[in-house]
Symmetry: C2
Subunit: 281 residues, 2 copies
């Protein structure tokens, strides 16, 4: 995407200062190297959040509405995007629609509303992924896509002819019916999950696939489901059987697995039609 | 409500045989004593559930569509009602609308659909509450209301002139926009929660209060929030501050607390207009 100056803000949980240098090191190793600006708000603290709602919204707008930034990169997940998304989106200026927004997990609440507002958004790795084992590969993938449009960074099933979107399952479920729900008619919907019980995932898939607007998607792909919490007794169905069950009940096409998840291999899924050819079919 | 024969089914998790005698003992101590029929399905096991979806749906219909039963009492929560609710509701006969349905927590998914289908439903204690300390008081409260219409069993803020409904927060969130969502226009909506992180409760309240249909309720009351899971770092707002925040953001009236929750003091909330005067204002 040719990004030269990337602004990093934290609409949910706060970033540790200790992560910054490792992320900058990945950027410096690129040629040409992008400039990363970590907004000071990333390091604020207000209970669960990286600063109160007003501070997080203002920081987001500082980057979104500044024409010097080519991209806004969400620092990390946690929880908090839904609390500021409507206020942020109402205050976007025209230049906000000229840049790219990248993040995943909790950030999905913002991405949905931004996509609906006509912005270019993508699901993909965040700076805090640097903390994972081999985390620099995830960070390099995100920067490679933001700065050079690396097609290897893209989720491999993406078809340039079919729009797509990717979400954490419970985050997607809890924007349905709200002003943050994007119109995903005809889109391939990729869903991943982390740190949930399988019974809760089944309930969330009931909600998602029973929502009339979601029944207009082209189909569902399941990303990785990691750190599954214990189910007592054992749930009796695998994560894939759960999603296939609800696809069958709802008449939504089951399209297979997706190469996304809360891990270092998490690939990039630009919302809408992907501007880049995929590496594989 | 004058119930003489009460059918007990388990649309979610299975009941232990060992609970049956203690529940029967509470019923026997009443005058007149109701007859309790525990459907054999209550004790089936299929992974997470008390029998597979078909067995649970069939058992529910066995009781709902049989004119001999005055009430259907949901055995316990867990998870599973959403998986069978639409199929069950599509197969209800006219006699199903002559009886009362009582349960809470996961059962809310069924209660919502049944209420929408014109049935008389209520939030209130279930047989499995017998396992709580002083659990017989919860069971006696439920039977006292089912058999004699005890007004002391009712949630004390209920106003005969204003319809009401009561739900577990995440269960309510995950029926919104689905065929199980009841029309709660003008209703007092009571919400309780158990075993969730405060950040997840905040996200759920975002979803609930951002849903246009919910903005038509008369107001929200907060029941008890128990067994709160740890939040790292501390969330920074109490359960009541969270609900008041989202009431303020959404313009929904905050009406105060409600005497419901996952505990022995859980009171009964008939959906719609309560047919009985409350004990206090």
């Amino acid at each position: 995407m040719g990004a030269k100056l990337i602004g990093i803000v934290a609409p949910a949980s706060r970033l540790e200062q200790s992560m910054v240098e490792a992320v900058r090191a990945v950027a410096r190793a690129m040629d040409p190297a992008p400039e990363l600006l970590f907004h000071p708000q990333c390091f604020l603290s207000s209970g669960h959040f990286a600063g109160d709602d007003e501070a997080r919204a203002r920081a987001f707008l500082d980057v979104a509405n500044d024409p010097n930034f080519d991209a806004l990169w969400v620092a990390r997940g946690g929880y908090g995007s839904a609390r500021i998304a409507e206020s942020v989106i109402a205050q976007l200026s025209a230049v906000a629609r000229q840049k790219v927004y990248l993040g995943y997990s909790d950030a999905g609440a913002l991405l949905g509303g931004l996509y609906r507002a006509g912005c270019r958004v993508a699901h993909g790795p965040m700076p805090a992924d640097i903390l994972r084992d081999r985390g620099e590969t995830a960070v390099a993938r995100a920067l490679g896509w933001l700065c050079r449009g690396d097609s290897l960074a893209l989720e491999p099933s993406l078809d340039p002819g079919v729009p797509a979107a990717a979400y954490n399952m419970i985050v997607f479920s809890q924007i349905l019916g709200t002003p943050l729900e994007p119109d995903l008619t005809g889109h391939v919907l990729m869903l991943e999950e982390v740190s949930e019980h399988l019974y809760a995932m089944d309930r969330t898939m009931f909600h998602i696939t029973s929502t009339p607007s979601v029944r207009r998607v082209a189909g569902i792909r399941l990303g990785r489901v990691s750190d599954v919490l214990p189910n007592e007794p054992a749930f009796g169905e695998t994560e894939e059987e759960i999603v296939r069950h609800w696809c069958e009940v709802s008449g939504i096409a089951w399209l297979g697995r997706a190469d996304i998840g809360h891990d270092v291999d998490n690939k990039i899924v630009p919302f809408g039609r992907s501007p880049y050819p995929s590496r594989a079919r």
